[in-house]
């Protein structure tokens, strides 16, 4: 039972982390109608910034805060310099343009930080395990990730649904020209949205960094999962992204944790332990396929596109 609780926490933590990445992706995709493959690069940049700033300042938290600001700036700069040229064009152009950005970012990181990668050590108060229930110990850092991401999710909800900026964002999503005609600076709004998405990706990257270390191309594998989540959750829907991300996190972790044991009941142990990792990593895509068949627009579609 304690094992099950621990695995559920692992699933929740992974899911919430994916949510941060998927939220930015779905905002940019849903509101600006822009397919951003370079989202994973911003995740990587966030991690590199955090490792660098933490080493300079000697403080993990200060480094993380600085990195968040820096990623926001990089995101806005990318929007002004590159993304603006892509609005209103074909999705294929977006894919091509942002794929170019991936190459640009990977190579820049190689030039600036070298190919070896960095490590982001945790302060000792996070680098241990804490007792959350009698007999259940859990990594303090993973617990911190859960708390931070839930806070960010609440903040996003308030921002989009309860503030004037959020109203403009939603209005801009449904009719860009009309909002512009009413005297709203839609260009600035898009820059802010893109910067926000970048900061969310950067936050995911810097929080994942102490677990997975910082390396070139770290955002590419996880970006695929983030896209799967946007598809399952419905493009443009933050609520959908949250639900889908938690689903995917649970399926991935619990699949890895318990599927091999289930498989061992029907197959020989050797065959089971070989097949289980492959099969359990397929389950997420199976979920996506089922969602696409039953609700092609995703679980929580953001409206009529």
């Amino acid at each position: 039972m304690t094992l099950f609780i621990e695995q559920c926490l692992n699933g929740l933590q992974f899911g919430l982390l994916l949510f941060l990445l998927a939220a930015g992706l779905t905002l940019v995709f849903g509101i600006m109608d822009l397919v951003n493959l370079a989202h994973g690069s911003l995740y990587m940049i966030g991690a590199y910034f955090a490792a660098t700033f933490a080493a300079w300042t000697g403080s993990f938290v200060l480094g993380a805060v600085l990195a968040l600001g820096a990623t926001l700036m990089v995101g806005m700069a990318v929007e002004v310099i590159a993304m603006r040229r892509l609005y209103g064009r074909d999705h294929l152009d977006h894919v091509l343009g942002t794929f170019g950005l991936i190459l640009f970012f990977d190579e820049s990181v190689r030039l600036i930080w070298g190919p070896e990668g960095l490590s982001l050590p945790l302060p000792s108060w996070l680098n241990r395990s804490v007792q959350i229930l009698p007999g259940v110990n859990y990594s303090a850092y993973r617990l911190a990730i859960i708390v931070v991401t839930l806070t960010v999710a609440a903040f996003l909800y308030v921002l989009v649904m309860r503030t004037r900026i959020g109203m403009l964002i939603r209005a801009g999503a449904s009719n860009r020209e009309m909002v512009g005609a009413l005297g709203v600076n839609i260009k600035l709004l898009y820059t802010l949205v893109f910067g926000l998405g970048a900061a969310l990706a950067g936050l995911a990257g810097l929080m994942q960094a102490p677990i997975l270390t910082v390396q070139i191309g770290m955002g590419e594998n996880i970006l695929i999962l983030a896209f799967v989540i946007t598809v399952i959750g419905g493009i443009g829907s933050i609520r959908g992204a949250l639900v889908a991300a938690i689903f995917v996190g649970f399926i991935d972790t619990l699949g890895r944790a318990f599927f091999p044991d289930l498989l061992r009941m029907v197959l020989s142990p050797a065959a089971a332990s070989t097949a289980a990792p492959a099969l359990s990593s397929m389950m997420i895509y199976l979920l996506m396929a089922i969602v696409l068949v039953v609700k092609p627009e995703g679980l929580f579609s953001a409206g009529n596109k």
Binding site: P115, A140, I211
Partner: protein, 391 residues
């Protein structure tokens, strides 16, 4: 017009082919990973190959040497393409390199079919030591399960009664876990294979290992995954609670990132940077001189040996590489100064060699370094050689 040009160039190629062979440059193709996060391993191997060439005066048996490096991109299908290119278009005399067992297994057939001599510098899939052994295939590394077998023996010495095994789900991972289980006399109470190379978060596996309450955990995670594993092992609160035993998880490339997390975590290896033989002292000292800020890892040591082995065979046959039988005989003698101390080949062309216990310590300057602590097994031969039909 275009057709005529094509025909003309094809004809030229036909003429040029034999003419190039007359020039007598020893061509060596070297396949490794030079891009992506594991490029640090490929760089260590290339650095060591270049150092070996420096030590040889860029000549083998008086003939100039050309090494063609190819990047497998960490992918079996790319590795096979690059291998085909080396054989068919570059027409190399020797092929060397290969970090990954799955890349090597995908590339093996064209190499064996073309009778190009292969000197493997790292990967050691059990199939190549056993039923897939070939007269033209040699290794200057090991067979995958030898190193974990030594670790299993060491765990017996330490009185470990039960172990939980974790490793990646590919050819080498399966060989490694089978290897440790074959010599470990206690109980294997659990085994987890993870998706390779995509999965880097081991939280689910660590939670299961913790719940199983073993005496020890054994892992095999080469390259960057080893850093991630050690980090997460500490974060899960297992450091100090369940001791960790490793194979190919802590080396000179990952240690600068693992730092104190690796302190006191034992590993087994056939080569450690402080082995006291003359060839090794020269190799390590010159490597650090040539590449400031870098230290050679076992990947590099094996690559250095691969080039030295090839050089010994070229010198012994006086560069007459067309006589395949003579080259094979010369390679089989392993007549060169290996940086691990001299070794003999088994009949399957896998080294019979010692395995050492390595530990991580802090040196006088406060740097983390690997140190040889003891010899676990002497003149160890892989268990698959019986399945190899060669005499």
């Amino acid at each position: 017009m275009r057709k005529a040009l094509l025909a003309a160039s094809a004809a030229l190629l036909l003429v040029a082919g034999p003419a190039m062979a007359q020039q007598k440059t020893i061509k060596i193709g070297f396949v490794s990973t030079f891009s992506g996060p594991v490029a640090v391993i490929g760089n260590d191997m290339r650095n060591s190959v270049e150092l070996a060439l420096d030590h040889l005066g860029r000549k083998m048996g008086g003939l100039p040497v050309e090494v063609i490096y190819e990047d497998d991109g960490f992918k079996p299908e790319v590795g096979k393409q690059k291998t085909d290119k080396l054989i068919e278009s570059d027409k190399v005399d020797f092929i060397s390199g290969y970090i990954w067992s799955n890349v090597l297994l995908a590339s093996l057939k064209p190499i064996v079919d073309s009778k190009t001599f292969l000197v493997i510098a790292n990967a050691g899939p059990s199939q190549i030591a056993g039923e897939l052994c070939s007269p033209t295939v040699f290794s200057t590394s090991w067979n995958n399960d030898q190193t974990p077998q030594a670790m299993g023996t060491y765990m017996n010495q330490k009185g470990v009664k039960s172990v939980f095994l974790i490793g990646p789900n590919y050819a080498a991972g399966k060989d490694m876990l089978a290897g440790v289980a074959s010599t470990f006399k206690g109980k294997v109470i659990g085994q987890e294979l993870t998706t390779w190379p995509a999965q880097l978060d081991f939280s689910a596996e660590l939670a299961k290992a913790k719940a199983a309450k073993p005496d020890a955990i054994f892992v095999f995670y080469p390259g960057r995954a080893g850093v991630q594993f050690l980090t997460q092992y500490a974060q899960a609160g297992l450091k100090g609670a369940i001791p960790l035993y490793t194979a190919f998880t802590i080396d000179e490339l990952s240690l600068p990132l693992q730092k104190e997390l690796a302190l006191g975590v034992p590993g087994a290896q056939q080569w450690v940077n402080d082995l006291p033989n003359e060839a090794n002292k020269k190799f390590v000292a010159d490597y650090i001189k040539k590449y400031p800020g870098h230290k050679p890892a076992f990947y590099g040591a094996q690559s250095y040996d691969a080039i030295m082995l090839i050089a010994s065979a070229v010198a012994a046959t006086k560069g007459k590489l067309d006589d395949k039988a003579a080259v094979q005989k010369a390679l089989e003698k392993a007549d060169f100064k290996s940086v691990r101390g001299n070794f003999k080949f088994g009949k399957n062309h896998v080294p019979i060699q010692n395995f050492y216990l390595q530990d991580v310590v802090k040196d006088a300057k406060g740097d983390f370094v690997l140190k040889t602590v003891a010899t676990i097994v002497k003149d160890n031969q892989d268990i698959h050689h019986a399945k190899c039909p060669m005499k």
